[in-house]
Structures are given as structure tokens and as C-alpha cells.
Amino acid sequence: MTEISETNGSPKSLDRVVIRFAGDSGDGMQLVGDRFTDVSAAFGNDLATLPNYPAEIRAPAGTIAGVSSFQVHIADYDIVTPGDIPNLLVAMNPAALKANIADLAPGSAIIANIDAFEPRNLDKAGYEANPLEDGSLDAFRVYPVPMTSLTLEAAKDTGAKPRDAQRSKNFFALGLISWMYTRPVEPVYKWIAERFGKSQIVHDANLCAFKAGYHFGETAELFEHAYEVQPAKLPPGRYRNITGNAATAYGLIAAGQQAKLPLLYASYPITPASDILHELSKHKNFGIRTVQAEDEISAIGIAIGGAFAGHLGVTATSGPGVDLKAEALGLAVSMELPLILIDVQRGGPSTGLPTKTEQADLMLAMYGRHGEAPLPIVSARTPSECFDATFEGARIAIKYRTPVIVLTDGYLANGSEPWLFPDVDALEDISIPFTTEPNHLNPDGSVEFWPYVRDEVTLARPWAIPGTPGLMHRIGGIEKEDGTGNVNYEPANHELMTRLRAEKIARIAADIAPVEVDDPDGNARLLVVGWGSTHGAIQAGARRVRARGHEVATAQLMHVNPFPLNLGEILSRYDRVLVPELNLGQLSRLLRAEYLVDAKSINKVQGLPFLSAEIEAKMMEMLDV
């Protein structure tokens, strides 16, 4: 946080700030974070967010396990991560303070709801003494604010019972922080009116709490001054704030439109993928059919049935669901039908960390099926790029008649950033014609339809859908004879079909964008290769290293299988290769196997994204400086 200017009485300008709201899971911290984010987005800041919440809907109140937080990074320039160290922590209770204090740096500010720092809560959080009083927070700037009692006071004329009124304390916090960072208030008023318009009392209580928080900041002589963060100078165009899951849903809608195919989306509720189902279910006027299936296997089965019948079949899930869908994915590989599976990765194995992020499903996506069952894998690097990755996955699936796995993760799914709108009129036409005529001439001059005759370039087989006269055919998971598609157990045919399926996927490499290397002066000797959501932390780490006068190159893969054609040549250009991953080294193993490159890893499996400082430190180590 660089302090740029100061004028007496007016807000102090900052180029960026990282704020973390933390409280009980029932305190509405995600809601407050979302509001602050939307207001800041509309104000024109660049931003990135990191929601972090427990798997339990209501873990025991007041405990460390029940703490939910939302970190937002706003800036007047383009930023790439939610920030390493919060400049300000809003702690609604002792547990929230205890769970987050280790992430602060000396000098960070803490606004604590002093009303909640009473013996029972202190005990639940494991504090023997009140940290607001025992001097243990002397390294920080601590602002105790009686949020609960001020909220109750503010709401006393609304008719809300005290028990209900105290729930508005998150809006008090939002009001206070809105004053502190000079945020416009009208969007919040409007949102409260829309959201709570049906209940006058709740509406009034929240509005009064918000205003009370704002006025408290203005009038209490607790704070020296407010701050402001000017709008960022982003590329021109129209923007909105978007989460990864919403971008994924929009990407699917765009893909259906540009493929001229109705969308059939089937999924089983699973964290953190369910929001894609929620979003798509809202847009039935686009002709989207959504099915909440009885289980993960059914969901992909329904998508496969839809694909056979001529729809764009899609299913989304997280790791445990991918495990369950493995056999059906193999069926789609064998039937050679277009299919999109979105894996919003979370911490594993087994139930693992349902609400936390991880990148440990790469090998599962690559190899998680019996037999030789290759399929393309596309990953998203930022929340808004989930739109592009999903669209690209659909393009490949349709063109090559293959299931495609799109890898996002919990960090991308729930995190958000400003999104420069794509030019929807310029989106690629990804449609292909259904086959409507027989494609095989028999020696006797008669014609018939063979479902496994292949396109010479793509090796894709024809897509002939039910209802088409004369093209009736039966296909399934049993090995098929090349061409006719009839059941066939011949040894040589199986090898031929296995190699054809592999070659079809391999050929996609020539049909995807080459890897772009970010090597500003072209003199770097260290290349950092990542994939998916580590993009922001790697970029931020590289900026820091470069700011210290060193050179480092970065490349972030979107296509993980097959690799882009130029990747091998790029790897060979650098003396050293570093691969940061939120797993124990999966991409690095693929790179080593494919290119015989001595790729080094930096790994993290804490359910959290990399800090840019962690990447920076490893880069510096690899640079021997």
C-alpha cells in the first residue's frame, strides 16, 4: 500500500488496498465482501477477490472453525491477485481475529467489533486474555468499534427485534469501510432496496445500520482520515465484475449459440460447482435444458444421451464427481461424441476440502479412466477467462467429436474480477453440420451409413442424429470396427482404433493457440511455467522480481492436453524451468515426461492460492540472487 499524496482534511490517496472481512459463518461476511466488490468494480477500480469459508453451513458460532472471510484487493492499476497481506482486517469476533492475525503485517489496521470480545467468545476462540487489551496487538493499528450496540441503537426505531436487528451489524461494517475508502453509497442503497424490499423492517434495519456505520466513520475521531483509491486505467471498453462460475455459465450459453446447438446441462449439486447449475437454470428463455440429476453418473449419462440426440451435452462437477463419471467419460471417448465436463477443482482426496481450492485433478483429467482414453484438457487462468476456456472446450469437443475436460477451481469459481466484455458478434462460429447422407459406397453400388468413417484432417467421425432417415446406427462402449462401427474384437482392429483415438487428440495441438511467453527484454534465463489459476500469483511474483532488477520469463498454459506445438521449443530456450502448482507436481511431471526438461517445482496444498511473495522467493532462489 503506497501512500501517494495527502492533503489536509481530504481523503488520502492510495494506489491499492487489500481488505479482509472476517466473522462467523452466520455474520454475512461473504455478502458484505460481494457488496464492497461490486461497488468498487462499478467505481472503476481493478480488483481481485478471495472468498474463504468453511464447508459447514453453520459451524459452532464463535469458534475458529466457523470463521468465514472475504478478501478484496482494489487498485488504481491492473492487478492480478487478491493480495498477499491485508492492509485492513475487519474482525467481527475474537475467532475471526485469531484465525486471520497471522496473515497481517506490522502496521496493518484492525477494526474489531469490541462488543463481541466478551469472555465467552474469547474463550471459544482460545484467548486467555482479551487481545484488544493485553498489548499483544501493539504492532498493528487497532480500532475497537462497538458494532453490535451501535447497530442495535441505529435500528431501534425500525421495529426490528434486537435479536434480528443485531444481524445487520455486517452492514454497519460495510458502511464504516465504505466511508473509510470513499465508496459511493447509492449502489448499496439500491441493492438493499432490491434485496430487502419485500420486508420493510429488514430493509430499514440494514439501511440504518449501513448509514450508522458510514456516519460513525465520519464523526468518530477514531480515524485520522479516509482514503481513496482512484479508478484504474484499464483498457477501454465496457466492464462488469464476474465470478468464474458465472463466466463458465455464460461461456456455455455462448458456445451453444455459436454452435447452433441447444444446450443440455445435467449436474448433481456439488461444491464449488453448483453455482453453474444455478446460473444456467435462470436462463430458460435461451432454450437451455437443465437437469438436476440423481447422481454424478446420471448427470454425465444424460449429457451423453443429449449429445447422441444432437444437443450440446454438458456436465459440471468437482473432483469427487469426476471420479464417479470416469466410466461414462470413457464411453464418450469410445462413442466419439462431443461432451463438455467442467471440473471445478477443490482440495482432495475424497471429500477433502470442499470449499477450498486446489489444482490436484490434472492427472485425474489426463489419466483417470481405464484403457487408453485420451481427451483434450483446457484450463482457465482467471475468473473471467472461464468464459473463454469453456467456449474453447466446446469448440474442440464439437469439431473433434470428443469429450473435453475444462479445469477451473474453487479460487476461480468464487473469485471475481472486472471483465472487459467480449465482442459477442465476433465470437467464432463453432457449428458443424450433422451428417444427413450415407457415406459409404458398397461394391454393388448401394450406399449405406458407416458411423466410424473419419474426416481426413481432424479424424472426427460423422455426427448423425436420430430422426435422420437411412442413417440408423448402433454404437456403444464395445470396441468398434474401423469404418462400420460394428462390434469387433480383432486384435489388429483394436490397436488401430486405439491409435486413431490417440492421434485424433494429438492433432488438436495444431489447432490451438501457441503458448505466449512474457519475457519483456528477451534476456531471461529462468522460465516459470504454470497452468490455470496460478496465473495471477505468477504474474505478480514476476513483477516483483523484475522490479528488483532481475529478469524472469513466464508462460501460463491454457491448453494442458495436448500441449501447444511451440511449448517444447520454448522450454528449450531457457536454462531453468520452474513450475508452480497447487498440487505436489503434476504439470511438472507431464513436462518432464514429454520434453525431458529438468523442470523444478514449487508446490502448495493448503487450500489457498499462492501468495505472490512465495512465487517471488522461489524465483529469486532459482536466479541464485
Partner: protein
């Protein structure tokens, strides 16, 4: 399961069994009951006045699941137990098609039990033909979820311990709107039941007693052998008192507990008999009737146990799409993306 759009034009060429027969050699064991089911379906198809290209047969894994290869229609030989799920995808995407599910007792009731019950309760428009031979045939003779307790097989040398499912009871308990039973020894009966199942709008479930002459030969002889049928098969006819026996001397009535029981008509009088009503919305009586098929051998109802009207799943899916389009107009991608708070950077 039927759809008006699948009816051929009045002046169309009349189709024959050949039009519904593929060029693939049928590879079931000689003497298998599956042959007669295949024949019944292939003979029925031309009578239904439907087009082969609008038929989709979806199967799982098991001997019966090879069935789609022998039909000159569209077909998916999917994976074990998942046929109802795959068929749901076809039906939801394309309500204009006739969707058939071919499955067996292991496929539908063991590994695929979940998809089976959910397809029924959703009332997806499909005809499910369950070939029940009370044994695993393709894996060479293990006991199945419909095998009688104590069955000695390769996997149960000391007798199986698992209590069996009654498939019709399970279907009724799963909120099925059409439930029927037939057997592979009576082609005409099969055709009539299949015709009714095809006509039904919604999920139509048919249990077929099917003989596996290699691993479980004669499993149903006690009820379906020619000399047993009169006293063991209870032919259900809508609107008629339920009677059976060589002289129609037996009947079915409901006792004070609502249970179906076999009675002598001479003893109780015809007025005491249960009059079969396929269309009773409440499933209790149909369920009670389904319980009569006790293993190993007891008088067994044949025909349509239950046939009620309830909107199909896919028609309701379509209704929601139509309503949303009428209310909000067709979707527009740019408007959707630009919904909510937007800002311009110049």
C-alpha cells in the same frame, strides 16, 4: 411411450419386420428367451406405424443389452446400469423420439438401481423392458438381485443370503405411472403389453420373465409352463373382477389389511373379488397385487398392473422453456452479459 409425430404418413409404404431388423448376426445362446422378446418387438414395430429413424434403443450391460444391435433403429449400447440416465438425456433433448430402454435384473436393479427408480419417478417418456432371468448370465452365473434366497451359484456355493427385489413392487414404489408384467413363453401377450407400454405417455415399465437356459433354466417353469399357466397366471383385465384357474375358480380379493389374497370364488362369491382398475391413482392396490408374485412359485399377476396419467418430465421441461420465452423473449447473449452493474472505461 408414444408421440404423434412419430406416426408414419397415411400414404407411407407399409413397413415390415425386415425394416426393423439390422444386418448383425444375433449372438445369444441357442434357446435363450431373449430371441422371443426380440421377435415380439420386431413384429410389433410395423404394427405401431412408426418410423425406424425415430426409434432409439438404449441398453446397459448384460446379455439382453446386446438387443439394440439387432434393431435397425438408432441405438446406444451404454455402460452397466446407466441406460435410464442416457435415455433420459435422449428423451429430454428430443421429445419427438420414441425411447426404449433394454435392461436386465442385474443392470436395472443392482448396479443401475438409482437411475431406474429416478427415471420412473420423473416419468421420463420411455419404455423400459426389463429382462428378468433371476441370474447374471453374461458373467456366467452369479445370483442376481431377483434370485430367490438360498440360490446356489458360483458366487454363493452355500446359498445366497440376499432377499430379492420384486421388480413390479419396486417400480410401483418408485412412483411409476405404468407397470406391467409379461413372459417370454407368450409372444402375443408380450406384443400386447409392449403395445400398451409404447402407447403410454411417461415412463412405462415392463418386467419380462425371461428364461436363461444356460445358467438358470426353468426358473419360471412353475408359473409359465403351458400346463401351469391356468392355475398360476393371473391375467389382469381392466374393469373386470380378477379371476384365474382352469375353471376360473380362483380370484383375488383385498383383505382387511389391504393385502391381496387368493380366494376360492365358490367360497367368497364373485362380489367379493377385486375389480381390476389400472387407472387408480393411489398405488396401494397395484402394489398389493404386485406382491402376489411370491418366490419361488405362486399365482402371479400378468398384464398391466398400473397405468395412470401424469405429465411427462420432458413435456414439463419444454413447458418451462416456452413459458420463459413468452415471458422474457428469446435469450440475447449481449443483454445477458451486460446485465447487472456495468461501467465504461474510455
Amino acid at each position: 411411450m408414444s408421440d404423434a409425430s412419430n406416426q408414419s404418413d397415411a400414404n407411407a409404404v407399409t413397413l415390415t419386420r425386415k425394416d426393423f431388423t439390422s444386418d448383425q448376426e444375433v449372438r445369444w445362446c441357442p434357446g435363450c428367451g431373449d430371441y422371443s422378446v426380440l421377435t415380439a418387438v420386431q413384429l410389433l414395430m410395423p404394427e405401431l406405424n412408426i418410423k425406424p429413424e425415430n426409434q432409439v434403443f438404449v441398453s446397459g450391460i448384460g446379455c439382453a443389452s446386446r438387443f439394440p444391435y439387432y434393431m435397425n433403429t438408432y441405438g446406444i449400447h451404454s455402460i452397466h446400469g446407466r441406460a435410464p440416465a442416457v435415455a433420459t438425456g435422449v428423451a429430454v433433448a428430443r421429445p419427438d423420439l420414441d425411447v426404449w430402454v433394454i435392461t436386465g435384473d442385474g443392470d436395472a436393479l443392482s448396479i443401475g438401481g438409482n437411475h431406474f427408480i429416478h427415471a420412473l419417478r420423473r416419468n421420463v417418456n420411455m419404455t423400459i423392458l426389463l429382462f428378468n432371468n433371476q441370474i447374471y448370465g453374461l458373467t456366467k452365473g452369479q445370483y442376481s438381485p431377483t434370485s430367490e434366497v438360498g440360490k446356489v451359484t458360483k458366487s454363493s456355493p452355500f446359498g445366497s443370503l440376499d432377499y430379492p427385489f420384486n421388480p413390479c413392487s419396486l417400480a410401483i414404489g418408485s412412483e411409476a405411472t405404468f407397470v406391467a408384467r409379461t413372459h417370454d413363453m407368450d409372444r402375443k401377450h408380450m406384443q400386447e403389453v409392449f403395445r400398451r407400454a409404447h402407447e403410454h405417455r411417461g415412463a412405462a415399465f415392463v418386467e419380462i420373465y425371461q428364461n436363461c437356459n444356460v445358467f438358470n433354466d426353468g426358473a419360471f417353469d412353475g408359473v409359465t409352463a403351458k400346463d401351469k399357466r391356468a392355475e398360476m397366471l393371473i391375467e389382469l383385465r381392466h374393469g373386470e373382477p380378477i379371476r384365474f384357474g382352469a375353471e376360473n375358480e380362483f380370484g383375488v380379493r383385498l383383505n382387511q389389511f389391504g393385502e391381496a389374497e387368493i380366494v376360492s370364488v365358490a367360497e367368497v362369491g364373485e362380489a367379493a373379488l377385486l375389480v381390476h382398475d389400472e387407472h387408480r391413482y393411489d398405488p396401494s392396490t397395484a402394489f398389493a397385487l404386485s406382491r402376489l408374485a411370491e418366490q419361488p412359485v405362486s399365482p402371479t399377476p400378468m398384464g398391466v398392473l398400473r397405468a395412470i396419467d401424469r405429465p411427462t418430465y420432458e413435456s414439463q421441461v419444454q413447458d418451462q422453456l416456452t413459458a420463459a420465452q413468452e415471458r422474457r423473449g428469446p435469450g440475447h447473449l449481449r443483454e445477458l452479459i451486460e446485465s447487472g452493474a456495468v461501467w465504461d472505461v474510455v
